[in-house]
Symmetry: C2
Subunit: 774 residues, 2 copies
Amino acid sequence: MPGARRAAGVRRPHPQPPEEPPAREEQDLLLAAAYVSDAQYNRNIPFETSPQAIRLYYFYNHWTMQAATYFFICIDLSLALFEEPALFPLPFLATSIVEVLCLTAFLGRLVHFAKVTPQMVFWKDTKNICIMLTIVLTLIDLIVYGSLEAVNIHSVRWSRALRPVFLINFPESRQIRRAFRSIRNTLPDILYVFLLFLFSVLMFSLMALKLFGDRGLKTVEGSPYFTNILDIAFELYVLVTTANSPDVMMPAYDFNGWYSLYFITYIIINTYIFMSVFLAVVYNNYRKHLKNEIRKLAYLKRHKMIEAFNLLKVQVGTEFVVKEAQWRRLAKVVAPDISSSHLELLLRVSDEGQKGHVDKMNFLRLADLLNIQVVTINIKRHPLEAWMPRVYQSSASLLVQRMVRHRVFVWVYDVIILVNAIFIALDERNPFISYAEWLFLSLYIIEILLKLYTYEPRSYFGRRQFWNWFDVLIIIAALVATVANTTIQSARKYSSQQILDIVLILRILRLLRVIVSIERFRVIVTTLINIGPAMLTFGGLVLVVYYVFAIIGMEAFHSKVQFFDPNFTAPDALVCGNPALKDSAFARNRYCKNNFNDLASAFILLMELTVVNQWHVLAGGFALVTHQAAKLYFVGFHIVVVILIVNIFIAFILEAFFVAYSLEKSEVETAIEKKIQELGVGIQEEAVQDGKLVDNMDTRDSGFSGDDGDNKRKALKGLYFRIASKKYRTVDALLQQMFESEIAPEDEGPPLDEILNFSPSDICPKNPSFENSA
Amino acid sequence: MPGARRAAGVRRPHPQPPEEPPAREEQDLLLAAAYVSDAQYNRNIPFETSPQAIRLYYFYNHWTMQAATYFFICIDLSLALFEEPALFPLPFLATSIVEVLCLTAFLGRLVHFAKVTPQMVFWKDTKNICIMLTIVLTLIDLIVYGSLEAVNIHSVRWSRALRPVFLINFPESRQIRRAFRSIRNTLPDILYVFLLFLFSVLMFSLMALKLFGDRGLKTVEGSPYFTNILDIAFELYVLVTTANSPDVMMPAYDFNGWYSLYFITYIIINTYIFMSVFLAVVYNNYRKHLKNEIRKLAYLKRHKMIEAFNLLKVQVGTEFVVKEAQWRRLAKVVAPDISSSHLELLLRVSDEGQKGHVDKMNFLRLADLLNIQVVTINIKRHPLEAWMPRVYQSSASLLVQRMVRHRVFVWVYDVIILVNAIFIALDERNPFISYAEWLFLSLYIIEILLKLYTYEPRSYFGRRQFWNWFDVLIIIAALVATVANTTIQSARKYSSQQILDIVLILRILRLLRVIVSIERFRVIVTTLINIGPAMLTFGGLVLVVYYVFAIIGMEAFHSKVQFFDPNFTAPDALVCGNPALKDSAFARNRYCKNNFNDLASAFILLMELTVVNQWHVLAGGFALVTHQAAKLYFVGFHIVVVILIVNIFIAFILEAFFVAYSLEKSEVETAIEKKIQELGVGIQEEAVQDGKLVDNMDTRDSGFSGDDGDNKRKALKGLYFRIASKKYRTVDALLQQMFESEIAPEDEGPPLDEILNFSPSDICPKNPSFENSA
């Protein structure tokens, strides 16, 4: 791609030299470009329109500034690795200096933000207040903790739990913020279902107390069974998560078979029905609120584009339009990296009749047009063909090329990969097999070389040829690692564990290639990869929640449970260094390494709690070493993460898959595609993927050069375009595609104030809330 | 309700005496009624139109015949309780005689069916072939098993696993059949995701073998960790179900913290993403196929109604219509129980202009009209008011009535119930508390009596007053049980355990009443109750799958694991009577009662497997006592029940909730409601629910009697109607409401053959299948 772009840049076409604009227009252009850029990236920042503020605003949105902000956020969050209880302990002075540095950076960013936004807006925004408050609180905590530490009193660094506030509240983390807003808005509806669910659990607890309490039953561990209402409620809550099924039922079931009916009823009502209702309520509300957010975004985008249009419009005849030269300069300012041919294509789409100006309707599409990833393919001959045409076109060479392009070539390599898999599964210490590994490695290298010989290298390594890149990187890495390992081994008669592990993983990852050659599988994987970036939002969400819970957990439970090397046979090792754990399920299952003694351990423990199984054993263990109330921490984590966030994750996957199932290209994309086809410069996606690019080129090229009367068309000659519609350039784009179709394209939307105060009930008159539905 | 209907029947209105029809018309009427009845109940049975066949067809659809069929199906299925391995053993001769009886009944039913359907249709229907084949196979199996038994050779009664075929294939179990068809159609799409998922599990297994196999790690039990590829694959499959998390990770995690990344990656990819994708694929396909089925049903209904119309139509002016008298007789034949006032209402809706005939469009709605539950409320005075008006209208009596109707009355009883809950939680052996129970019981009885005094008893016990019925039944049952218990106790100084348990449960169920008085909760509960009947379909589905798996499990695993009374301390008791289980997790967890030694135990065990947790321990136990291949049975069960059926259940709940959220009344219901309102005989649902019926009546009555010039209107006087729209009379109705709105009301649909061969791709041109979506 970079190569293609550079090559296109050489014959940059300027069919109509741009008119020289007066100096005042320069200002308007910059302002309009700021609006368009905001619309393109869905930035929702009201900024001042003075020339100086605009320049500052450009600087504010520059990627270096954003990267710096994220860098400081990362530093700030990772400080927990170095603070007590630490993975890599550093003195308090060091971490506190770094923290103050980070806070200064955040403050600087905030001041910068205050300079570009109108004062009224700045002070009304809770985000900014939140950041300021967190900075102040953190400083106070640092001072208090530091001074207490100086007189040797240990206190709690509580402000560390506030650190994710920075991650949430900086304007760059729109997606995470939106997800949090959706959760907040979903809470009231969930609350009532949750209360009903709690009521049901309590009623069943009461029933269990009466039915089983006086029977004198014993659990497997020999402790009394179902005698205390609080214990029963906890056990039954755990049963909802299925973590203690069927153990919790066994004593009663052993006593009398009919009692199993009690547990089956409980499981059907609370585990199956209530949990599904939670999913339904979360899903429904999440969708409703997301829809509202997206509608807000779409209207804001429209609003900004109209502002930009009003700045640049000139009257031609009866209608206001934007001159082609102005449009061209605007696009260049908004997207400095755009290739001329791409710009030319967009102009053709916007100025359908080639009238030399863009009308309002087409101008408003500019932000969407820029968001569509059009791949410019500069089709060139194979370099070998240019260097030595005689050899490359010889019959032997052509035979090789035909062979490589043949379907059987793929099949043969699939078989080789499968044989390789079997060899991997076999014992490695057999020397014959370790030689075979070299054979496979060379076979794969030969495959890549053959492909590079047959296909044009720059299109083989095209930006969207994910699997080609994957192949080559895996093979090169495996080659390097294997060579390194062999060198070390022969020099020192010892293989490095880390390198060996990496070689093994790389070797097995190669098997993934088989999937790619089966069409059906490739489609599923591609869909999963496409929704991947959007899933990262949930990564952010989970990170925030995990971080807060990890900090709280570290303060509450650190060094209560110790891990000893399994080979170390101290008597303490079996009870994780804490006599309170004697005879507990926690110690019996050897869960000593599941502790809160550093950030990494805490995260892994929280991951185990998210998976749910055995969480009651973990909760029980920590309750034993501290206090029974510790169970509340674990129940709280379950409610927040499993009932809320995991359900939202499932809702998101469902929604994304349904969209993928019924995805239609957006109006704007269709327009571009139509234009590409009209100009005869389109390429079928399959052709590129199957590597038939060069085959197609010949036929296309001849057909195309047949009618080149138009000199603009000439400018595009040798270039091919392809829409990369199925990949979503931004997470927002995917979300918008989910819902944008419902907004009429001609709708100019309500005024700005109204947009910002949308509530979900405005959009869904047909979608009554829970109260009215039954 | 029955009372109301009878009362309405007394003044049966016949404003236009029906014309006497000639004898030939009688035939047409019967045939038309059969069509309408089929359309009403969505029966999809082509029947012959000869007079004799129609009479047989009526007999075939009579409820006694259907009940008898279900009775024999129940008997046939429950035979497994009495056959070896039996809960209540009966000799082989007895069970085989009963089985032959059942088979005869099924054959009879089939022959009856053959008489009413055209022969061509009968022999092309796989359902019938299935039933015949199953009957033959069962007979063969019975004979073979019996003769082998006679010479003392024990063989396998394999045909028992075929018994659910009868449940599925009789025409009455449409819903279950439809669910199975949806599953079958969903399979191909799931298969590819499943293969990909298996591939992923295998790749991770290979990686685990290489990474951990040579480390010499040990599990908590001391067995080698991750050394055999098959064991690893099984462990990793179990990890997908989360049942062995985090235990499976601990040895590797203890060895090196970085290895946790392997497991976290695995869980994210396979547990979270793949399982969500399964849900998405199942949900999407289920919805797609269900939509197709419902469209088929809707067109068939239309088709039948047109047939009926063509039989009865007469020409009036330029259009064909059905005379009012014919329409009236038809409705009476289709719904013999319909009350005259209800019929009158339906006629008013169908014959809007009171022209004395019903046009085609309105005639086609008849089946839908009959399906709408219109509650006829015959408002009468309180019987006490009629008997002794002076006393009932005295100021003291009025004060009592006002008191009972007051909101505070409800609150006071909510407080009483909560106090009661606390008393229940307290120790029961305290005599003061057991006296308090009598106090609470009398308080509740007083409440019911007061309510009966205030509200008209027949409306209090209306068919739709679920919670009133609930109250009264719970209290009466509690009263009877408490009295019985006290009697037994004072007579024999010993309380019966069963009765005590029942009393306890009834006492606690009373607490449910608190929910009813909180509006928000009542709404959620009502929604759940409304989708309850539809959930029963899944009950049928689960029953079929459980039955088949239970029979297979009983044949394979019976008496391998024995349960001994926990107090019995034989050395065998600890290993469930099987030395192979020594030191196994199965025996350690005391899972001996989880066995396949009779049908009930097998069902409970399968329920535990459905809940998933610890299923690997159960599978491991049965693998130890038989063979490692036994694990396949458990994995198969997991795939079928958890991945397929539970996901479909979740999909159904989600869909039903979304429909409930956005439920609009259907066109036909709105027409009836409009008519009810026009006639001024409507009653607000809330008024009835809050018991304000009598209050409203007075005001309404006076307004209504103001204009009764029309004698038809007089016929309706004193009667009030209410649409019970939110309850679904049949499961089909709910499903149809989900999708029917998408079919245009004027569409006559394609010809019959085409309808029967619809495929889902016909309806969803905008919903491309997976292959095209990425």
